[in-house]
Each structure stands twice: as C-alpha cells, then as structure tokens.
Symmetry: C2
C-alpha cells in the first residue's frame, strides 16, 4: 500500500525543502505560530478516524491515544506560542562605541534556523513523537522545513497526520516543500536523507541502534550535522533506607504502576531499582510481588516489539545471579509482554554489562547493594540516563550527599519522590541525558527549549537598522526580550 | 626543557581533575568569578616577562601582545561577571498544579557543568586563545576544571600563563586539580586526553587537520563528547557594484590593511574578495596593487607557519587561471610571509576546490564573476565561514536580496561595511560558523555565550526547596533572571 519513496523522488523532495527554507526562514514568528495552531486544528478535525487508525496499528487503548492527541496539539500550540514570544531567539545587542580606540562596532545576534530537518518518529508515541510530534513542531517553530520518514509500524496513522499538516500548510499559504512525508520499509531511505548535503539536522526517537547509526552517518559526512537522537534508558530509581523503611507499601504500589504503565513501553520506564539490602527491602520485594502477580499482561505495540521484549527478558533472566522476584500469574500471549521483576546483587551488576542494558517493556531489575559504598559504585558504573529518581526522606538526602552529586552526572532529570514515567511538556523539562540516553545531552526533545535544537546563532555587525531582522531592529517592533549591552530588556534602543 | 607528560602522569592529572570537578561544580558563581578575576590579576603581575617571552617565541610585536594581554584579562573578568550575573544558566521553573489530572509536578531547570575540559590553544593568539584564553575562561565560568595541553610553539609563554592560573587557584583555595598544564611534542598526549572517558568536552583553536582529528576521536568514543574546534576560514568579502564604483580607493586601502594585519595570521583574515568584473573592479585592482607593493613583509609566528604559507601560496598561485595582481616589492626572508594578491574568474573558482582552501597568511584571492548569477553560484559553492562581509550601499543591498539570503547560510557573522579582522569580545559576538569553520556552528568561542559550550541542562522534579541549588530556590537568593511559568522575572516564588 505504501511504496518506498524512490531516490529520484527523494531528490525532488529535498530540492523543494531547500527552496521552501529560503522562503520560510523569513516568515514572521507569528506566521510560524499560526501555522502550528492550524496543524493542531487539523489534527483535531481528523476526529475518531485518527484514534481508531492508531488503535488498530499500535494496540494502544483509546483513552491513552486521546490523551496523546491532546498532548500533541498542546505541543504544537505551546511551542508556537513560545516561538512567537521570542525568548528562545536569545537576541542580544552590543551597541557601538565610536569614540573607543579601536572603535567598538555595533554587533547584534539571534538564533536563525539551520535548514531542512529530517524527523524519524517513535513507535511508542504514534502522535506525540512521530509525524506531527515534538521534533516536527520544534523545527517548524525554529523556521525549518521538515521531511518526515513515516514510521513503518504506524504508516496509516502517519499518513493521516501528514495530511493534517499538508492541509494546514495550504490554508496558511506555506511555501511548497515546507513539509514532506516519505516512506521506506528498510533503512536505505533514512540513510540517503541523513547523508544528503542539503539536510541540516536530524531528530530521532527510538532505539540505540537506530539513533547511533544516524549519529555516525551524520558525523562522517563531509559537512557533519547535528543529530538529536533520544535513545531511551533504564532510569534508575533509588530507594533510600529511611524512606524505604517508612513507606514500603506505598513505594511498592507506585513502582508496580510505573513499571507496567503503557506495557512498560516508555523511554522513562524504571528499569532499575537500586537499594542497600536490608529488612525493609525484603518486605518491599514481597509487597511488590503481590502487586505484580495480580496484574494482567497487555498487548505490546507490535509483534516485533513483543518478540524483542521476550528475547531480551529471557537473556536478562538467564544471567548468572539474577533471580525472578515476581511475574504476573496470568499467562502472556505471544503479542503481550510478561510483567517481570528480578533481582541481582550489586557486585554481580557491576561485573555484567548485559544487566545495564534496557529491556524495553514491563520489566525492572532490583539491584541489592551490600552497603552504601557499593550503592555509589553502582551509580558511577551506570551509563547516561534520561532520568534518575531518589525515593528519600530529607534525612536520607542529608546522609547521601555524595550519591546526590554522582547521580546528577548520569542523568538529564533528577526526580525526588515521583515516578519517572510521565514527562511534563513544559519549558523547565529536560528530556535528554548523557550519552547513550541521547546523542546530545545539551538539548531537550520535550518542552519549548527543544526549538533551539534546530537553530544556530548569527551575528550582524555594523548593519543599518533598516536591513536588520525585526527581532534586532532598534525599535524592537516585536516587543521581545533582548540582552542590550549585557542587560535583559524589552526597551527600544 | 619541557618533557612530554607521561601516560602515568596524565592518568594522575585526569584523576585529580575528576575529583576537583565534584568540588568545583558546587562552588558559587561568585567564587568562580573571583577566581577568574584573580587569574587576570596574576597575569598582570607577570609584567614584562610575559610580553618579552611571547615576543621571543612568536615574533609578534610588543604593542600587539600588550593589547592581547589586555584582551585576555578582559575575557577572564567579563566572562566571570557574566557567570555571576547568571543569565547563561537559562534557569527556568514551572510550578506545580496539584489539582490538575494528572497532577502537574514542579520542574526546575538550569545549566550544569559538563565535567573536566581539555583545551588546545592556538599559535596565533598566545594569550587570548591559549592557556589562559577564552576556552579556559569559559570552562572555569561554567564550573569545569581545565587541562591545557601547552602549544608547542610557545611553551615558555604557556608555562608562565599556567603559573599565573596556579597562583590564583592557590590564593582562591580552589580544589587541587582545578587546572593542569601538560606537554606533548606530538599528537599522542592530545589523543590520549581526547579519548579518555573522564574528559567531557574539548576546546580547540587551530588548523582543520587538528580540529577534525579531535572531532573524529571524540565521536568515535564509547561515550562521544562535544568538541568545539574553531578551524578558521577564508572569510569572503563581497564588493557590490555601487559601493565599489563610489568608494574604490577607500576599499582598496581597507582591504590592504585587513589582508596584511598581523601578517595575515588571523582566522578572520579576508582570503577571498568577490565581485562582478567591471571597470571599477579593474581600478580597484590597480589601487590595491599600489597599496600592497609598498608594504614590507614581516616575520611570521614560527618557521613552520612561514613554510606552510610559502607552500600553500605557491600551490594557489600555480593553479590554472590564477594570476598575480600584486606582491610586496620588498623580498621576503624565509621566515617572512610574502604579501600576495591574486585573481581568478568565477567559473575557474567554481571548478577548482583547491582555490576554496585557506592559505594562512597575508594572501587574498579576488574572484571576478561574469555576472550576478555567477556571484550567487560562487556563494552557494562556498564552505562554511566564520564571517562574510558585504561592502555595499543601501541600493546594493536592495538589489541583492537573494545574495543576502544565501550568504547568511554560509557564515556565523555577517558584516556590513567593516573588515572581518577584529573580533569584538562581546555577548552579541558569534565566533564560529557552519562546518568546516567550526565543528559546532551552534556555539561561539568568543563572548560570554561561549560559557554555554561547557554546560548542559539538568531538570529537578518535585524537590524540596532546601535541597535545590541556590539558582533554583523559591526565594531566588542570587537575584538572577529566571523564566517562571513562561515569564522572565527576578521575582521570588
């Protein structure tokens, strides 16, 4: 039904995108925001067909997809509003000092869009991190045209979303080439796009293998380009002793819920639970066992994901020293994920890299450390993570200052007495983390700061006011915040 | 005199740097700024010895080095002040909404330091872009310890500067390991540092070969790290027709001065002059010839640079279709750079990649385009540049809107009727550009925004106020600008 886009077609798509870029980059911030609001309206107008199509393609339940649709629309409208407010432009102006020796020139700087962006969506968020998702919204906000490669696991959903974007583009008189939707069953289409000289940045959400391949291709180009790949992580949750002793049951309930939310198919799923072995941890395990056993397995996104979970789970459980703590007592079908919790000692974890790897699905591994020193050693040995969570009392925090310092070095978001699942769409959110959680720990893929991924600074020196972009003109016609001679202000010059 | 640092010594240096990082990252912004001010004071206290040592090692004249010393001190004090003001932290806070379904968590974000940084200085700026130069200043401001590999071309100068940093570190009670100075005649020491897992970022100023090797090593690591390599460029200067016709003589004088400033040893040296061939260009060439012929050659930084210039100049002048326009009539010695201007047609330039390469020294190539279409084609064919300059009247700008659009895509700083040499140290300065001008066009190596190169965002979710960094506490004790619920403010919460 959906034929692979040919190389000749891709060349045409890219040529259109380049042409569109030279027009769209000069569109006002308001025009960009209007376009994004129009896309949100067109998504809403898709109505039940969108939800039903996605349900059929992803096995995700209706309520979840309705929520994700709302989130997707909110991303478009709120990033549009942020684009329009202009803070992300980091506009700064240093005025001239003609009398200085040598004379100080007038220099003004703002972020400008990078150029055509290619987006690869995620299978686990068919709306919010796919065709019209966060990466696409950020690129449009920044002033970049977008080429989306449809995710093979939800082609119909992706095509519907593409039609919403195309309708909005037409209604808003966007240049031809502002958006394109291409297909490729294998990796060849993605590789061609990633290696093409006219493509200036890549957004990706998915597996380590996919993200790393894009990162390597992009860096090996004659002109390397940035790749923003969010590749998931195991998101350690620390149960510190006082908290664990005083709220054992509540922690077991919270974690049972978080590990199994969305059949464990979240990049912030808590794949590791870390604690010092003590009586409270023993109680916690038996309470968690009770919670897990009564849960019912659910169907995963597609058979490939279910097979992958099954294989990785078997590998993890077969490692020396790993013991099963609990599994759902209801048998899982081939398409479902068997809910599983296992345990291993800190020393075994330290010596087995396999146990550090993500098992994408409803699984978590409890690391039982011999003492506080081993807890710290386990932390230092961890790879980069999207999130780390401390379940702790104030007393625990005061007693674990070194852990608090070390854990900040391995994550992008540090959570206190909340579960890591649930990523708020807000400016202060950082969704990214040290490699391999993401390929560039300096940028987020959630929240309006994600717009900055697709922009770079450009300085204008000694320009007549009339030729400057509106954002940098003396009279500040857009009424945006700017740093003028080192002071933040909305004043004119 | 300066033995290569051994691998065992490097391991110790790196271990000290990691330890220092865990302490220094918690030092207040004021402590960092005080340290940087103390370094500036110690540099001043080095007095004439510093200037005389650098004169002997680099052949740069006294006045230039005195100016560069002042610039270096200004970088330290002004980046310190910027660090203290805290705008660079991009602090943002989204407050909780407990009544929402699901409840909205409190999320707060700020930039945190990356970790130990390695700096490789430039031969052409022995103070401002070397041991205590811009990269080191930015890293200290961000909260990172620094390991400098001494530049082999000015080892004594580098060692003096290192002593100034070490004295300041002692006076300010900085942690042991906050700074280290290592030596390596070959590339092995640099390679070892760049590939070491504990090193988290690299600053480099120098050749394409050196910067690209670091970039590749860093990206091929198990955990890739950012490399900020500023690798120079040819900095095209466009002479648009009305401007060229009306200010022919003044343009010839300005460009003769800019091409030969500092024996052409600036990364912003105008290596290409681009114009449509007409009578005014013919006049310009003869006026430029008069200016160039009377100039006296000067000694380059060291024999290696002079030899390299001589070789690359010969290669450039030997290309088909390249004709010499002017050379200084005074014979250059082996250590000096022969001032040279050549010319070539636009079509020849388009077909010969050799002519696109930088010839580091007092040389510039005039590209004579057949018409406006060729001018545009030449622009589209250019590599990424630190700067591009339009010498133009308002009428020229209005007649060249497509050129204005295209030229923005190839540069980091766009200059109007100024020469590109002279890089103002100011917040609005962008010194960087699309690859290969720099490895990361999104970050500057001049100006306080350079601090952001060595930092990444970290979000804190649901933390008690007492455990948050001061920058994010409710009461805003540092009185910094923060974005609270999407509004910039210094207010408390």
């Amino acid at each position: 039904m959906y034929k692979d886009t040919t190389i000749a077609e891709l060349d045409q798509v890219i040529a259109n995108s380049v042409k569109a870029f030279h027009q769209y980059k000069n569109y006002s911030l308001k025009q960009r925001a209007d376009f994004m609001r129009a896309i949100a309206a067109e998504i809403e107008a898709l109505g039940d067909e969108l939800i039903e199509t996605a349900m059929a393609e992803t096995n995700l339940p209706q309520a979840r997809l309705q929520g994700e649709r709302a989130r997707t629309m909110f991303q478009l409208t709120s990033y549009g509003a942020a684009a329009e407010a202009g803070n992300w432009l980091e506009a700064s102006i240093d005025t001239a000092l003609a009398e200085r020796t040598p004379p100080k020139p007038d220099v003004r700087k703002m972020l400008v869009p990078l150029g055509p962006v290619v987006v690869f969506g995620a299978s686990n968020f068919p709306f919010a991190y796919s065709t019209a998702g966060g990466d696409t919204a950020c690129a449009f906000a920044a002033g970049c045209p977008v080429i989306v490669k449809a995710h093979p696991a939800h082609l119909k959903t992706s095509t519907l979303m593409a039609s919403a974007i195309e309708k909005a583009a037409e209604k808003c008189s966007m240049p031809k080439g502002i958006f394109a939707h291409v297909y490729g069953a294998g990796f060849e289409v993605g590789e061609y796009l990633a290696k093409h000289d006219a493509i200036k940045a890549i957004g990706f959400t998915g597996s380590f293998g996919g993200g790393k391949a894009l990162f390597d291709w992009a860096n090996q180009r004659k002109n390397p380009i940035p790749v923003f790949a969010e590749m998931g992580s195991v998101n350690p949750v620390y149960l510190l002793p006082e908290k664990l002793a005083t709220e054992t049951e509540s922690l077991a309930k919270q974690l049972a819920g978080s590990v199994t939310l969305g059949v464990g198919q979240f990049c912030t799923n808590p794949g590791l639970i870390v604690a010092v072995a003590d009586d409270a941890l023993t109680t916690f395990k038996s309470l968690l066992k009770q919670e897990i056993e009564i849960l019912t397995p659910a169907t995963m996104l597609h058979q490939g994901i279910a097979d992958n979970y099954s294989t990785k789970l078997a590998t993890a459980l077969n490692q020396n020293g790993v013991e099963v703590v609990a599994q759902s007592t209801t048998e899982a079908t081939k398409a479902q994920g068997k809910i599983s919790i296992a345990t291993v000692s800190g020393s075994t974890f330290l010596n087995n890299p396999v146990l550090h790897q993500e098992v994408f699905g409803p699984y978590s591994l409890i690391i039982e450390c011999a003492d506080e020193a081993e807890l710290l050693a386990v932390t230092k040995a961890m790879e980069g993570q999207l999130t780390a969570t401390l379940m702790a009392t104030p007393g625990d925090i005061n007693a674990h200052k070194e852990l608090l310092s070390e854990v900040q070095e391995i994550c992008g978001r540090l959570i206190f007495n909340n579960v890591p699942t649930g990523v708020e769409v807000a400016l202060a959110m950082h969704h990214g983390g040290p490699f391999p959680a993401s390929t560039d720990s300096r940028f987020t893929s959630v929240g309006a700061d994600g717009i900055k991924r697709f922009a770079r600074p450009l300085s204008f020196q000694n320009w007549d006011n009339e030729f400057l972009p509106d954002e940098l003109k003396n009279e500040n016609p857009l009424n945006i915040w700017r740093t003028v001679d080192n002071e933040l202000t909305k004043e004119k010059i």
